[in-house]
């Protein structure tokens, strides 16, 4: 593929162009308050299955949104068209919606000028990467699998996005964000192995190593898996599986629900909710997480503690709820870092070696809440589920369905590793340990 394709990509909206559009909106708005946001992105995904490309796409998408308020009446209009006429049209539509809307007692004006952390959210090598680079990575993964006579299915993607926010209050925020992603499922007959990565830098996806990891998993599972009965087992959850459970805890941290009594955490703020050795922080500046400098409302994203030594210390407070309770709003936990005191080591093998009998879980799939009152979740094990006996993997086992609350499971932690990168198809990216947990509840078994 020629390099001219990459160099001919259109330039994304620059800070100056964003300022021009923001000024256009502010100068024409008749509202008491006006909030303007813009996202402009290009990128693509190369998708493969059965060792060949099945989908290869490139997308340029712009999106801008205007919210206008008259008093407590507000309305929002958005468009993908960045021409001046379309922007003015969106503004007029937002004004029209706002004038017809009823008073919103929870409406707050946009935030004013803010200071933001300067985060390394953009990497030039990712911006420069185009279809050719993605194809190279796909070729690498497919080539390794073909050499082993295995079947590869996966994706390589890269994207660059510029994000800008402005309001008549003086708010101005602008950031460029890049992201590279790789995920791979290796099929060895009925068995599968999986690995995934995401990073601001496309150079940091480690495609070769991650492909090898997925191959090893698939080959380990290639023998006929044992069917074990459902029940309570000691499990070793790899970081992706831990992240799957943790994500649902994070998504349920909404303070408004907490105060209304419709949260699994109601009555638990300030109480110990998980093992006392574990702590959770938001670390937007961590080089291996995907932190942003500001939220979609323009609030600064800051490092913050959420669980300290097992105690819940923070909730997700939207601006209105925060004001009601006279605290600072904290609306995102997008760069979670869960860690424990005195980890046993850095690798999953360190947990396997010290396990008498247990189940190794590579990943969970289709996790959904069963009972939001106690945060009971269900989901399936996927892409590498193994029996461990006397410190070694002895066989593959058929996949289990779990029926368990992380609020219970994370209180039954025996030991854990140091945090490692975890990326799954259903969650974002987190740094979390692999964990050994006793009495984890598997409620049924599937056919493979």
């Amino acid at each position: 593929m020629t390099s001219s394709i990459t160099s001919s990509w259109p330039k994304l909206t620059s800070r100056q162009e964003f300022e021009f559009l923001a000024d256009l909106v502010m100068s024409h708005s008749t509202g008491d308050h006006t909030f303007f946001s813009l996202r402009d992105s290009h990128g693509g995904t190369t998708r493969f299955a059965n060792n060949q490309i099945i989908q290869n796409v490139n997308l340029r998408r712009g999106h801008l949104s205007v919210t206008v308020a008259f008093g407590r009446q507000h309305g929002t209009a958005s468009t993908t068209d960045f021409t001046a006429g379309a922007v003015r049209e969106a503004l007029k539509q937002a004004e029209s919606l706002a004038r017809l809307s009823p008073d919103d007692p929870e409406y707050l004006p946009p935030v004013g000028a803010q200071s933001y952390l300067s985060l390394p959210t953009s990497r030039p090598e990712t911006t420069a990467a185009g279809p050719a680079r993605r194809l190279d990575y796909a070729r690498e993964a497919i080539g390794q699998c073909k050499m082993e006579n295995l079947n590869a299915a996966g994706t390589v993607s890269s994207s660059t996005t510029t994000v800008g926010l402005a309001a008549e209050t003086g708010l101005r925020a602008y950031e460029e964000r890049t992201e590279g992603r790789f995920s791979l499922t290796v099929q060895a007959g009925d068995a599968t192995g999986w690995s995934a990565a995401a990073h601001r830098s496309i150079d940091r996806l480690h495609v070769q190593e991650r492909t090898l990891a997925a191959i090893i998993k698939a080959k380990r599972g290639a023998d006929e898996p044992q069917e074990l009965p459902p029940g309570r087992y000691t499990v070793i959850l790899e970081p992706a599986a831990v992240a799957g459970l943790l994500s649902w805890m994070i998504w349920m941290l909404d303070a408004k629900s907490f105060y209304k009594g419709t949260s699994p955490f109601s009555g638990k703020l300030g109480s110990r909710i998980i093992d006392r050795r574990l702590s959770l922080v938001n670390q937007p500046a961590h080089a291996d997480l995907l932190g942003n400098g500001f939220t979609h409302e323009g609030l600064p994203v800051i490092e913050s503690g959420w669980i300290e030594s097992g105690v819940l210390t923070q909730l997700l407070h939207d601006r209105y709820t925060a004001r009601e309770h006279q605290i600072e709003p904290l609306t995102t936990l997008e760069s979670p870092h869960l860690s424990g005191e005195r980890p046993i080591g850095t690798r999953v093998d360190d947990l396997i070696r010290t396990t008498q009998r247990g189940i190794l879980v590579t990943n969970f799939w289709y996790i959904r809440p069963v009972n939001p009152s106690d945060l009971t979740l269900t989901g399936m094990t996927r892409d590498g589920t193994f029996l461990i006996e006397n410190g070694e993997i002895t066989s593959a086992v058929r996949n289990f369905r779990f029926h368990e609350s992380p609020l219970r499971a994370f209180n039954q932690v025996e030991t854990y590793t140091a945090p490692a990168e975890a990326v799954t198809s259903e969650t974002g990216k987190a740094l979390v340990p692999a964990m050994r947990i006793h009495d984890f509840h598997f409620s049924s078994v599937t056919k493979f």
């Binding site: 593929m1 394709i5 001919s8 259109p10 059965n50 060792n51 060949q52 490309i53 099945i54 989908q55 290869n56 796409v57 490139n58 340029r60 998408r61 712009g62 999106h63 949104s65 929002t76 209009a77 958005s78 468009t79 993908t80 068209d81 960045f82 539509q93 919606l97 017809l100 809307s101 009823p102 919103d104 929870e106 279809p131 194809l135 299915a153 994706t155 993607s157 499922t185 999986w194 209304k260 419709t262 289709y366 959904r368 069963v370 009972n371 939001p372 009152s373 106690d374 399936m380 369905r401 029926h403 368990e404 219970r408 198809s425 509840h441 409620s443 049924s444 078994v445 599937t446 056919k447």
Partner: protein, 487 residues
């Protein structure tokens, strides 16, 4: 932008890629308008109009696909994106093992318009917000209810599809939906109950025809009853499932496994594969003889009934399961030939101009039987009647599933007696459908639309409608949907 301008842009795109020697290409230009009005706790939280315009060019070159898309609709952008699509296809071809051969399809020139009595975008906004506010007020006036939600959603898609084969299809499609929810608390627990006017291709009449005041009062009362209801004891129960509940059961356990691209491994890295492999077609017992699952993308008002799919294939009706035997797949022009079918079933859809179309679940429904709901209940000694959607999860080959619901009633000696809570049932798909021994008649049939069916990488939202009458399933495993130390 006028229709003739779109035609010019389409011609420019297709002539550009044709001159590069592609075997096939199409362009889709879309102008999508969406209105969302959402309320919570007696306030209107958001009113949002969005306009989403752009185009996507898909080319098949040397037997491999390339796709490029942009939200900049201009004479300068079209050739750039067209060239990019061709270059990407060349890259795909460099790793091709087997070439893509499209199933033939007649050339179509047509215009499809959703019939509607009331354009949702012309209905006064004040009427819509007043409806939501009054509904939330009714819900929250009920003692024990602490939270309410209510929302309305409408979307119009104006689309032009043009292919190098000569098909030229214009679309003006509408879809509409509304819903409300009541949440009650009791003794440290909380529970919700919902009502919706389901997603359908219709106008605002869908919302006007519903009695929101009555439904709001009903769900408020039932939310309180639900949160106070006794927990179910685990065990085997006969289940009678209502059409809304069944729409999700069918979607997950029949719809997805009948997507041929999944069965061929295309989704192995994400949504998964399928236990319904091609060797099973025509012989595999999927369910009891009472189970007839029919795909119908021709039924007016349903979400997948768009006249033509995004391959330009006309919508069709066909069997997925006939008298319990698996007989058919959802296909597109790419995968249909891989199972030696001469024509695509017309189930290839993209969720926007920026997405590449893929096989999506059709409007799969459970064919009506001959019973009444009372007949189904009458023959149950101890069972559970389930309405609506709740928790759901299924493995990546669609064998092992688990479902909750929105509301549950105990059936004792042929009668619904009282509500119970925390009901979860699980099973293996063909065993579960094998336990179906009765389906209610067509007078009980209801349709429910889905617009958030996730599949693909990057993820896309599929749209389809699932219709059913009530059905009965014998001796299904039920567990309690909460976490117990000794569970």
């Amino acid at each position: 932008m006028s229709g003739s301008q779109w035609d010019e842009l389409a011609e420019l795109a297709l002539s550009r890629v044709s001159s590069a020697g592609v075997e096939y290409a199409d362009i889709r230009l879309l102008d999508t308008t969406t209105r969302t009005i959402s309320g919570e706790d007696r306030r209107i939280a958001h009113i949002r109009d969005s306009t989403d315009r752009g185009f996507g060019i898909r080319v098949l070159h040397r037997g491999a696909w390339g796709f490029a898309a942009s939200s900049i609709i201009s004479l300068e952008e079209i050739p750039r994106v067209a060239d990019l699509a061709v270059e990407i296809a060349k890259g795909s071809a460099s790793l091709a093992i087997s070439k893509v051969h499209l199933a033939p399809e007649p050339v179509h020139r047509d215009r499809i318009v959703t019939p509607c009595r009331l354009d949702p975008f012309a209905v006064p906004l004040e009427e819509q917000t007043a409806l939501l506010l009054s509904t939330m007020d009714i819900i929250q006036r009920h003692p024990g209810v602490v939270r309410s939600h209510a929302s309305l959603w409408a979307q119009r898609d104006r689309k032009l599809f043009v292919s190098t084969e000569g098909s030229h299809l214009e679309f003006d499609l509408l879809a509409m939906q509304g819903d409300c929810t009541a949440t009650a608390v009791h003794n440290g627990r909380f529970a919700s109950r919902s009502f919706n006017t389901p997603h359908l291709r219709t106008g605002y009449e869908l919302v006007r025809d519903a009695d929101w005041a009555r439904e709001g009062a009903r769900i408020a009362e039932q939310a309180v009853e639900k949160v106070r209801a006794p927990a179910i004891d685990a065990g085997r129960y006969d289940l009678v499932l209502d059409p809304e509940h069944l729409s999700l059961t069918m979607h997950e356990s029949c719809g997805h496994p009948s997507e041929l691209d999944r069965a061929l491994g295309y989704e192995a890295n994400y949504a998964g594969t399928s236990f319904l492999t091609p060797d099973k077609r025509g012989t595999y017992r999927y369910g009891s003889a009472d189970v007839n699952l029919v795909a119908d993308n021709t039924e007016p008002g349903t979400l997948a009934a768009t006249g033509y799919d995004d391959d330009g294939v006309s919508c069709q009706k066909w069997d997925i399961v006939r008298e319990g035997i698996f007989v058919g797949y959802c296909t597109n022009r790419e995968v249909a030939p891989r199972i030696k079918e001469e024509r695509s079933r017309g189930s290839n859809r993209a969720d926007s101009w920026g997405s590449v179309p893929m096989v999506r679940i059709a409007n799969i429904g459970l064919e009506a039987g001959t019973s009444t709901l009372d007949d189904l209940l009458a023959d149950v000694k101890r069972g559970i009647y389930i309405e609506g959607h709740g928790s759901y999860s299924i493995d990546q080959r669609r064998y092992n599933f688990q479902f909750g619901g929105d509301a549950f009633w105990l059936i004792e000696n042929g009668r619904r007696t009282h509500m119970v809570r925390d009901v979860i049932y699980h099973g293996i798909t063909p065993e579960f459908w094998g336990r179906c021994d009765g389906v209610a008649d067509a007078t009980h049939r209801r349709r429910y639309g889905f617009i958030t069916c996730g599949k693909g990488q990057p993820g896309q939202s599929g749209w389809m409608t699932h219709a059913a009458s009530h059905a009965r399933f014998r001796r299904v495993d039920v567990i309690s949907g909460h976490t117990k130390a000794d569970a």
